[in-house]
Amino acid sequence: MSHQMGRVVSAILERHFGEIVQKVGDDLFSYGSRPISMIVRNTGLPRNQVIDSLRTLLKFDLATFEPYNDVIVDYKLLPDNVLLLIRYPRYLLQMKSKYGSEAELLVEELLQQATCTATTLLFNIATKFKDDKEKSITILGLKDMFISLVTAGYIQQAPVAELKEGSEIPTLVPVATIVPDLDSRALVQAMNNGHINDIKDNIYWRVNYDRFHLDFRDEIMIKAITRRIDENAGELMRFLLEKMYLTSAPWAPESSPLCAVELRERCRSAATDKPLLHQFVDQYLKVLEENGGGFVRRVGDAGSGQFTVRSRHAALQLVLCALEHCVTERLGSKAARIFRLIYTKKYIEEDDIQKNAMLVNKECKQLTYKLMEEHFISVQPMRKPASAGGMAKAIYLYHVKLHSVAYTGLEMCYRSLHNVLRRAAHERSAHARLVDKQRRVRTIVHGMRLRGETQRNIDDVEETLTPPELAVLQGVEKRLKQLSTAELELDRNLFIFKWYFMYPYVE
């Protein structure tokens, strides 16, 4: 866990939970696991504030605890989970596009509550939209959607706290998710009564981030294949991934072999949509294997061909591609050419770089050194045995240590993310007074509208915001929007790096 990650985590905590939680989080981040008393001493915060902060962190699964001895508990931050906070909009978008707005509402509410019983969740949402005729959201519809989402694995049962014998400190035990059986009649009844006191429900649920991440991964792979070959090949990739889930661990570096016969079967059922794919399945498999960035590999001939999906390799290719983009933008396309050349050749001498990259000697050298300076490539001196002429000359071999370059990239992502968050916070605080004023005006106007006051009075209130003020506000809004888009994009980029680092490093 790097210093840069700590800075991002800190900025995110500040944004979502305020300064106190941020302080506690910083403390936990820099010291690893700690008991409350140490946090209190180090941060200088009152004990009850520290406890409140920890409670918040624990609730949202941003920290854990483990017993130090029988009475003292050590708390530990889960920085990777903190980073997920900026991914929330993406989870919602995913739900909306895949399952519609009911699913989005469910996940949104659940993310806000962190953990919650199904009954409470459904009841709360249904009550909120009771009077909204347009959306027509019923508790029964929500219930069905909830069950679909649990079945699909987007929502899972939260771990339960268990007290071990002879200890006062509970431990969290994960439970296997069982698709719940919710009583429709009781739910409808509760809606009519306006309370849920009659329903006994003590199963708690939470959002399963990992399920979303699998979706994101699949999407990236499918999109990449579509870019490289075409939609049919992309669709075939989707089918392969579908099949993969049935037989392999979802994040497995390489899936177990998948049979071409089954794929053909699957393509037949999609024949109306993708006639070409159906007609040329075998050809598409071949092209996918040979031109698809190595995402898929043929591993055997049994059953007219066996294929594996190579998640690890895909992650590597994508990280490489992201880094290439980065080199291109930072040092220019010629530098990117050198970078790629060195990566392809594994080890290469300076003279050969110039010959293959077809660049002017001087320029080539400069770019090579720049690449080195920014840690995109590294060099390894090799001593040649003294030759006959007595001129022992060391040769320098350039190469790309992808793992450490990826680390550099990740750090840059963290830095940028931090800076973007920081800038956004700055924008907000610099115009806090004005934004506040705007909010107050809006609430007042809203209230006046409800009371049916005349347009003239409303205009009067609205005009308390002067045109220059409005212009400033517009500017702030625009900038904040741009910054939050950037946040999401950086998070996407981060996702690729994290995916790559998920697999242990192999030379």
Binding site: R228, D230, A233, L276, M358, S416, N419, R423, D491, N493
Partner: protein, 296 residues
């Protein structure tokens, strides 16, 4: 017959011989130079033979004169021994040339003497000095009429040992354009993706022809040259290459697997100061001008 006429005649015969590298018979000569009687020809030919311009062959009972590949005799005619030694060393080196140091070591001549000899030969246009592309100070000597080897001249990419990067850039762009024109053939091809892929591939020969037809190159580019350029496209990430069963290389234009990622969409990703930018200090995200410009 005066000496002058004889010399002219020699030249004429040599010209005929040059046009027919396979060799010429007596008949060929008389046919080409009808104004001269064969009686006049014989002494001239004999003299040429004596001077070792020709090799004499017996082809199906006909005598054929064939021009010798390189006649060293004429070049060093009237030269002293040192010149001969140096000349032979240079001749041996072929179109790769030989470095002055090596000549000195192997000929055992003193430096000053060697320089004189080389100057002499150079002024007679028997040898020439060529600068090496990969070591700008190094000069090598070779016979005057030889075309320097690629490793010395750098081939098509060098103009007087200056690397022509603009030329390479133009070719790089043109090759890419050519590949791009057909790249989409692989997409949703009604005849299937394999046919589509074949249609989107271009062989190096096709690209070479295209480039030649464009007429942008003042030097002749062979297939190897074009492959060199196509490979730069591969290293640019704009093309991928593959090999046909018959061993010929093919290329296809491609897009990167992902569009520009988040990192390069924000100013920090391309910022030269990223490593010195911190929460406090001179460079901070709050006060950063790059951010300011970007947000405007």
């Amino acid at each position: 017959m005066s000496v002058k006429i004889e010399d002219q005649l020699k030249e004429k015969i040599l010209n005929v011989a040059k046009k027919n590298p396979k060799g010429i018979s007596h008949k060929d000569i008389t046919a080409a130079i009808p104004e001269v009687s064969s009686a006049e020809l014989v002494p001239v030919i004999n003299e040429l033979l004596q001077q070792e311009y020709f090799d004499l062959f017996n082809q199906n009972g006909v005598l054929v004169y064939k021009l010798k590949a390189q006649t060293s005799k004429q070049a060093v005619k009237g030269a002293d021994n040192e010149e001969k030694v140096v000349y032979n060393l240079i001749e041996e080196a072929g179109n790769k040339g030989i470095w002055i140091r090596d000549i000195r070591v192997r000929s055992n001549l003193a430096n000053t003497q060697l320089t004189k000899v080389l100057k002499n030969l150079e002024s007679k246009k028997v040898i020439k000095a060529v600068k090496c592309v990969n070591a700008s100070k190094k000069k090598v000597y070779m016979l005057y009429n030889l075309e320097p080897d690629r490793s010395i001249s750098g081939g098509a990419w060098y103009q007087d040992q200056d690397f022509e990067s603009e030329f390479v850039d133009i070719l790089n762009v043109q090759c890419h354009r050519f590949l791009s024109q057909r790249a989409d053939k692989i997409k949703n091809n009604p005849r299937g993706p394999i046919v589509g892929r074949t249609q989107s591939y271009a062989t190096a020969n096709e690209v070479q022809k295209y480039i030649t037809d464009l007429g942008i190159s003042k030097v002749e580019l062979d297939v190897e040259d074009v492959i060199t350029i196509l490979n730069t496209l591969v290293y640019d990430g704009k093309a991928e290459s593959s090999v046909y069963p018959d061993g010929s290389k093919v290329y296809r234009a491609i897009d990167p697997l992902i569009p520009a990622p988040g990192l390069v969409q924000v100013p920090c990703g391309v910022c030269p100061l990223i490593h010195s930018c911190d929460s406090t200090g001179l460079v901070t995200p709050q006060t950063c001008v790059y951010m300011k410009e970007w947000l405007e």
